[in-house]
Point group: C2
Chain length 151, copies 2
DNA sequence: CTCAGATCATCCGAATCAAGACGAACGTTC
DNA sequence: GAACGTTCGTCTTGATTCGGATGATCTGAG
């Protein structure tokens, strides 16, 4: 398996994943931004919808963003009225981010649009193949996906 | 398949790809940086090895980087003696980047280390599953991968 | 030959990102 | 209650990224 030149670049799953993510990012962003949302905004809103009650650092770890990056994201989303930071009664340090009704409506619309875009990008594959892809990606991400394992 | 809340975040292939790429990035970077190379450095060196004779813009398109980003990467690599920019006899605008002998030695070492890291990260899957994953990622990236289709 | 348009590498400016520092608040131990 | 280490959110700072503009060069049409 070791040629004189070593493994060539197209054997690098890491890079293929990176390029594929990049490509899908372009495809879905195109749709998300019609609603005035970046893909990352949408990710954050979706995480807030799926895992309510997380603190900002917990949320950052859940979506895989730096805490300072997430803060500026939340600033923007709060400024747009899609998120509120509510005081926590039992811990006065924490300001729990929550998705607003308007934010959830927008999230649902963008989710449908980007799901459609994804489905089209994946239309060359069978349902079984897509299911396997999803399963493998989950496995690769491992225990870093669900914030429950971080608490 | 449309619940009242719409598709949840874990159905988004785009995000799964992003997280998986992020995770593999951490795993392989860990090994690449033992040799003083970032993952992106390694990608660029590998592309130079695989497709010699590309101009800087062609190389940027081949690896999926912005042209200015690639320029600063090449600056760093050239400063480390891993890359040289050689004048092109037939086109005085172009400065063809080439990998040096030292660069190729380092590239081969990092390629082996990161391939081993990838193999370990993928050890839970069968060879057929990995092959399918690779094929699907290639398909997703589409014609943006090989520079031959851009010339 | 000349000129217009395209292409290459580079530079510039705005935006973004992440690591570290900081104050405030928490919980535990004395 | 006081002291210590930890966690939370924020601020600051340095580095990085990307889009657009620039100058030099090539190419093709007239």
């Amino acid at each position: 398996m070791t040629t004189a030149a070593g493994p060539s670049v197209d054997s690098e799953i890491t890079w293929l994943l990176h390029r594929a993510a990049q490509r899908m990012h372009v495809v879905t962003s195109e749709h998300a931004e019609k609603h005035g949302l970046s893909l990352r905004d949408h990710i954050v809103l979706s995480a807030l919808d799926k895992w309510p009650g997380l603190s900002q650092v917990e949320l950052a770890r859940a979506v895989g963003l730096d805490k300072t990056t997430l803060m500026s994201q939340l600033d923007r989303l709060e400024h747009q009225g899609l998120v509120v930071r509510r005081a926590n009664a039992t811990d006065r340090r924490a300001r729990m981010p929550e998705i607003t009704r308007a934010g959830d409506r927008l999230r649902a619309r963008v989710a449908e649009a980007s799901a459609a875009a994804e489905a089209e990008a994946l239309s060359d594959f069978t349902a079984a193949e897509v299911a396997l892809l999803r399963r493998m990606l989950f496995e690769l991400i491992g225990d870093h996906l669900d914030p429950g394992s971080c608490l």
